[in-house]
């Protein structure tokens, strides 16, 4: 097999993108990750990194192991082999809630919102990690706890404005259409003011207009808050437009890694994925 994989592992000191954004050093480094379910290897010896401030896409055909990869990063799966380095230190196996507390927020492919709660309450849960007052102060609703609640409420309102969902603030999530649910989930993840934001197919099942909106929000989030974003997406056009660097997976292996231009012209990637794309 001709192996012309363009493995342009970016240097860890950072780089400047074509549109002039400065990308910082490595925030998350995945080293030789292998994940098995029984006898099935979902991820086979994959390494790549995510640098501060960039939009990093993970692409690949169905069943390539993309969501598994995201679940490894967010602590829902614990890999059998390999290490996850976060901010220059190897990370011990953590529970998902501990990963979230470290500042890694995520959304889910199939939307995991609190259906019975209002949009506002859903987004407020994203700020749980920002609220420090103890349980007694909370229960008694005394001064500092109350001030904290108000302060966090303001931060949440800003995010709600930012994502243009003011009109549905008080609506129970269960009544919202699919596209808006996706946006609320993004709002909840943003409310945590994450260092790293993981988006699992943020545009799956959306129409063109909704996709454009979501793309704009992702770019704005990255631009205005400087949030590092790793996302999984199927729509190649979207991926090529949004991302700074792309990891390509196929059958649990990494078959490409680099800028959209490099990946797009890589023969192995084309054979595995782009060649059979219907876009």
């Amino acid at each position: 097999m001709m192996n012309a994989v363009a493995d342009t592992q970016a240097s860890s000191v950072g780089y400047t993108t074509a549109d002039g954004r400065d990308i910082g050093e490595v925030i998350l480094d995945l080293r030789n990750i292998t994940l098995r379910f029984g006898g099935v290897e979902a991820i086979k010896d994959i390494s790549f990194d995510i640098q501060e401030g960039e939009i990093r896409a993970i692409i690949g055909p169905n069943g390539a192991g993309k969501s598994s990869m995201l679940n490894v990063i967010s602590g829902f799966y614990v890999p059998q082999e390999g290490e996850v380095w976060f901010r220059g230190k190897p990370r011990p196996p953590l529970k998902p809630y501990q990963v979230a507390q470290q500042g890694i927020a995520r959304t889910f492919q199939n939307i995991a919102l609190f259906e019975g709660m209002s949009v506002l309450d859903n987004v407020m849960t994203g700020r749980l990690g920002k609220m420090r007052r103890g349980i007694l102060a909370q229960a008694l609703w005394v001064g500092p706890a109350r001030k904290e609640e108000v302060h966090n409420r303001e931060a949440v309102e800003r995010i709600i404005d930012f994502l243009e969902i003011q009109a549905i603030r008080k609506t129970p999530v269960s009544r919202l259409p699919y596209g808006l649910k996706k946006r609320v989930e993004l709002a909840r993840a943003l409310a945590a003011e994450p260092n790293l934001l993981l988006l699992d197919e943020p545009m799956a099942g959306m129409n063109v207009e909704e996709k454009e909106d979501m793309s704009r929000f992702i770019l704005d989030v990255n631009d205005e808050f400087g949030t590092t974003i790793a996302l999984i997406e199927h729509d190649m056009g979207v991926v090529m437009d949004l991302s700074d660097r792309v990891v390509v997976m196929d059958y649990g292996r990494k078959i490409g890694d680099g800028t959209p231009d490099v990946v797009r012209n890589d023969q192995v990637v084309i054979d595995a994925y782009l060649g059979v794309s219907h876009d």
Binding site: S74, F76, K95, P96, Y97, Q98, A100, Q101, A105, R106, F108, A112, L113, F114, E115, G116, M117, D121, M124, T125, G126, L128, G129, M131, R133, I135, Q138, A139, W141, A145, E149, R188, A189, A192
Partner: protein, 332 residues
């Protein structure tokens, strides 16, 4: 107004107040079921255990004194002091929180993701364990709970309402303890609702009740929330235990009131706090009213024993999710 109608109203009011106590027990069930899907059979025993602990602490009894005496041949019984009611209640809350932590740590932590029936069986085990440990700690004799709560008929209400009827009506007979219980329950429910709506932990509790995966992804520790929920259920059990205990003494039969909460839950649904309250009130009123109008005159009385279950059965036939429970929708 004719006297018979006024007596009917009196029966209704008394039923309402009995219903408040049913609702209190049901509330404990709902809290735990919502957050963890566990039907806590031990809720009634928790009320008994809480009441025993409160009584024991107040009277300055030494916990496990029988055991200690039997092992070491000592004659310990009491510290010889009396703890004021408020301090004793706070200490009991601490004990219930500790119990919650132990239950989560030693039992349910290891059963996460198991079938509901297995979790249910575990709570049956827990019920018998708690009953035994309660006896071991505080002894098995009937205890009194003297919190100086007002008791007996309220003359004020009786006199004030006597004017409503004619010469053969002497005013509503209402137990002061029932009035107190109603007020305490109302405060407790209001506090619980405020806690769950406007605080970080309340929100986290609702989040866990709604979706475990999503809750984890925003940084909520399920274990912590479950301990919190068991603690709250313990506090609710304590309040229920105080009220029932003040009424009929702290004894084993206290744990059987949990059975009365079952029809309340069937009526109100297992996941609805307002449902538990309204369900309790409906059962309380319904059984008194049925006894007064039909049961007593035509069926030989004592219909309170089964009326609640019949009512729940009828409701279940027409609304399997209860009156307020979340709709069960299954897609084919």
């Amino acid at each position: 107004m004719p006297a018979s109608l006024l007596y009917g109203v009196e029966v209704l009011i008394n039923g309402l107040m009995a219903g408040v106590l049913y609702a209190l027990v049901a509330l404990g069930f709902v809290l735990i079921y919502k957050a963890s899907g566990i039907f806590n059979y031990a809720q009634g025993v928790m009320a008994l255990f809480a009441a025993m602990t409160l009584s024991g602490i107040m009277e300055g009894d030494i916990p496990f004194s029988h055991l200690i005496n039997a092992m070491f041949g000592t004659q310990l019984h009491s510290f010889g002091w009396n703890v004021p009611a408020i301090a004793a209640i706070l200490l009991t809350v601490v004990v219930m929180a500790l119990l919650a932590w132990l239950v989560q740590r030693l039992v349910f932590r290891h059963l996460v993701g198991q079938e509901p029936i297995i979790l249910f069986m575990a709570t049956i085990g827990l019920a018998y364990f708690l009953e035994g440990i309660g006896d071991l700690m505080w002894g098995s004799e009937i205890r009194t709970l003297d919190l100086a709560l007002p008791q007996g008929a309220s003359l004020a209400i009786e006199n004030a309402t006597a004017v409503l009827g004619g010469d053969d009506f002497y005013g509503f007979f209402i137990d002061k303890l029932d009035v107190v219980a109603t007020m305490v329950a109302a405060i407790l429910v209001a506090a619980l609702i405020a806690f769950s709506q406007y605080t970080k932990y309340g929100r986290a509790m609702r989040a866990v009740a709604d979706d475990h995966q999503a809750a984890l992804s925003v940084g909520i520790s399920l274990n912590f929330i479950w301990v919190l929920v068991w603690t709250l259920a313990g506090i609710v059990a304590l309040v229920a235990g105080i009220m029932w205990g003040a009424k009929s003494g702290v004894q084993f039969s206290l744990s059987l009131i949990a059975l009365k909460a079952l029809p309340v839950l069937m009526l109100g649904g297992f996941t609805s706090i307002p449902g538990a309250i309204v369900g309790g009130l409906i059962i309380g009123m319904g059984e008194q009213l049925f006894e007064y109008t039909i049961g007593g005159p035509f069926l030989g009385g004592a219909t309170e024993n089964w009326f609640a279950y019949m009512l729940a059965l009828v409701v279940l036939i027409f609304r399997p999710q209860g009156l307020f429970g979340e709709r069960i929708i299954e897609r084919v």
